[in-house]
Amino acid sequence: MTSARDWRGLLFVAPFLLLYSVILIFPLLRGVWLSFNQVDLFGDGHFVGLGNYARLLNDPIFGTSLINTFEVTLMIVPALTIIALGLAMALNRGSRNAAIFRGIFFSSAVLSVTIVTLIWRFVLAPDAGLLGELWKAFGWQPLPFLSDENLVLPALAITTIWWSVGFPMLLFLAGLQQIPGDMYEAAALDNASRWTTFSRITLPSLRRTVVLVVMLQTAAQLQLFGQSQLLTAGGPSGASRTAVLFLFETAFGRWELGYASAAAELLFLIILAVTITQYWATGRATAAQGGR
């Protein structure tokens, strides 16, 4: 009965899909069209075919911004996933203390990016920063987190991990709650070590959550923008310019709408490809294990 193909099902998804098409798909397609034109914010422009894309591939600034984006994503996603998982396992208990800690670790997630970067500017800056003061108290030279080419991406990564650890932690908590208690009881009866319990029970049961967290975070961090724009303005010398900051500068600073659109489409395709690859790879791995 429920399997009968029925167009009325469309009625439930239509309101969302309608808005989705108008507000997201249409602008996205419009962006694709713009990416084939050399057009500024107010001009009519002219068709250049793949010209913008060819220019992008030869633009070292765009190349660097892509590499920066990948680097910072690689710094953030694994660390964030492991920290969030660790926190969830430690805080997956009913005590009042655990609730307070959960609140603390989620607290930063309520802040907006403008506030996060404002606060971290006064943590990271070698002068007047919290870390700077701390370093000086130990008699060390403060580290120039925001002006050293090799420190600036880690600095953005730390800021981002601090900001976004709360949500994955909640996802893992939810996943942990679904693991049947008797599996652990059985393990306890077998005198299994903590590590065995973790690797044989907890981790396999959380597989889907891990995949979800990694995919969502990868898609989110490949779009990292505010931290880079507000904390370092992409500097020093472009060392923290991310792909989205590049396209923002190109559109609003240089008025090159067509070129910015081409960068946006490329980034969109990259994110899509990475996400699909992750999904496909984990799907195969799960299938190979005959898993859930």
Partner: protein, 436 residues
């Protein structure tokens, strides 16, 4: 349920766009400089206001009070406000009057997005010959005047005279500034040895304007033509390389502070942790306050001058704020109101100079009350030696971003000088080539 939600939505829509009907001519003014209604909301006493925000707020209040038939509605935007303005222009709903940096006007003027203001000036009885040279050059392009210039701002050497005295660099109560590059390095080393503090405070982090200003100024001084035409920049020349090498040397010999962004550099200067902070006119007010407060490191120890001439001619790269009129349909009453606003603002240009910015009108430079303001006699030459970039150059903001980023990389040693200048040239020329 959906019906009720829809009704609520429509009611909210109506709330957001309620029309005004008070028989006044409404002008819609958009500016940055912050919001300080708490302190100055109802005040029309311009003379008692302090700071950019206080002075502009009371000026507009005063205009509204003096002109009962006109009502200026103010919209404060986050600095610099161009993403919003661009969005408004694209939506065909721009304001009537907007604060705009002079280097940005050409972007909008070249597309006909802002109106020439020649007629408004004529109605207001203002002649472009009343403007200072720097101001007139800044707002004139394509044979028209495109804005009411409101100030000239540029780089200044803000000096800590207490440290200069300690370094033995005071003559007749005035700090000794260098006349040549060699003197600069000699004095800087002497300063460093005697005070233990860096000679220059620099904001090379996240502040492309700082590095770009230094490079532009000392290339211009040696007669370099930065923009031979509207499609090209020239930086990788013997003069450009030499300027960059001098600033590289300052950093290599640790004669200037490292790793500072603007807030850090300002903090360092007011805490007395360096001799000279080359930054803009806009900081004079804050530093004066420090200099007048007993117990502060800068107390009675502050002086300020234009960038010194180190070679060639004594010129300096400057910019300015102006009031522009975005193109849109307006009633004759609104046009008349804009002219009256221009006339009022021109008459009150002195009040704005209390912020530290230099006047846009020659007459103010000669006024005794201007000369009586602290340090103004010292910095007044900036209005004469100031040079904006040629107004045929578009995207000056974006160009400054690129040049500043590359120049800072050269100054701090992240790139070699020729590498950085070559890269800056290539990036700017590609940008300029894309403009129709």
């Amino acid at each position: 349920m959906t019906k009720r939600a829809l009704a609520a939505l429509l009611a909210l829509l109506a709330l957001g766009s309620c029309a005004k009907s008070d028989h006044k001519t409404h002008l819609y003014l958009q500016r940055f400089f912050g919001e300080c209604g708490a302190e100055y909301g109802g005040t029309t006493d311009v003379a008692k206001a302090e700071g950019e925000c206080g002075i502009i707020t009371t000026l507009v209040n005063r205009f509204n009070a003096d002109n009962p038939d006109i009502r200026i509605d103010v919209n404060v935007v986050a600095w610099p406000g161009y993403p919003q303005l661009t969005a408004q222009v694209a939506a065909r709903d721009p304001p009537d009057l907007v604060t705009m940096h002079e280097g940005v006007i050409s972007d909008y003027a070249s597309k006909g997005l802002v109106e020439p203001v020649d007629d408004y000036l004529r109605t207001a009885g203002i002649s472009p010959t009343d403007f200072t040279d720097a101001a007139r050059q800044g707002v004139t392009m394509y044979g028209h005047v495109y804005g009411l210039p409101w100030d000239t701002h540029g780089g200044l050497f803000h000096v800590n005279t207490a440290l200069f005295a300690k370094a033995g660099l005071m003559r007749g109560g005035k700090p000794v500034l260098p006349d040549t590059w060699d003197e600069l390095f000699a004095q800087a080393r002497q300063f460093e040895q005697r005070t233990g503090e860096p000679y220059l405070i620099q904001s090379n982090v996240g502040d492309p304007a700082f590095a770009a200003r230094n490079l532009y100024t000392y290339m211009m001084a040696k007669g370099a033509v930065l923009f031979p035409d509207r499609k090209h920049i020239r930086l990788n020349t013997p003069v450009g390389v030499q300027v960059a090498k001098y600033f590289r040397r300052i950093n290599a010999e640790k004669l200037g502070t490292q790793n500072m962004d603007t807030p850090a550099a300002i903090a360092a200067f007011v805490s007395g942790r360096g001799g000279i902070y080359p930054t803009g006119t806009w900081m004079i007010g804050s530093f004066e306050t420090e200099a007048e407060t007993p117990g502060r490191p800068l107390y009675k120890s502050y002086a300020v001058f234009p960038y010194p001439r180190l070679w060639g001619e004594h010129v300096e790269y400057v910019s300015g704020h102006s009031w522009v009129v975005p193109a849109r349909e307006r009633t004759p009453q609104q046009r008349e109101a804009i002219a009256r606003f221009f006339k009022f603002m021109a008459a009150h240009n002195f009040d704005w100079t209390r912020t530290g910015h230099l006047p846009a009108f020659k007459a103010v430079l000669g006024e005794p009350r201007f000369k009586a303001l602290p340090h103004r006699a010292d910095i007044a030459p900036l209005a004469t030696i100031g040079r904006p970039l040629p107004s045929y150059v578009l995207r000056q903001n974006a160009i400054e971003g690129i040049v500043g980023e590359e120049a800072a990389a050269a100054f701090t040693g992240q790139k070699t000088v020729p590498q950085a200048l070559e890269s800056a040239e290539r990036r700017v020329n590609i940008l300029l080539a894309q403009i129709d």
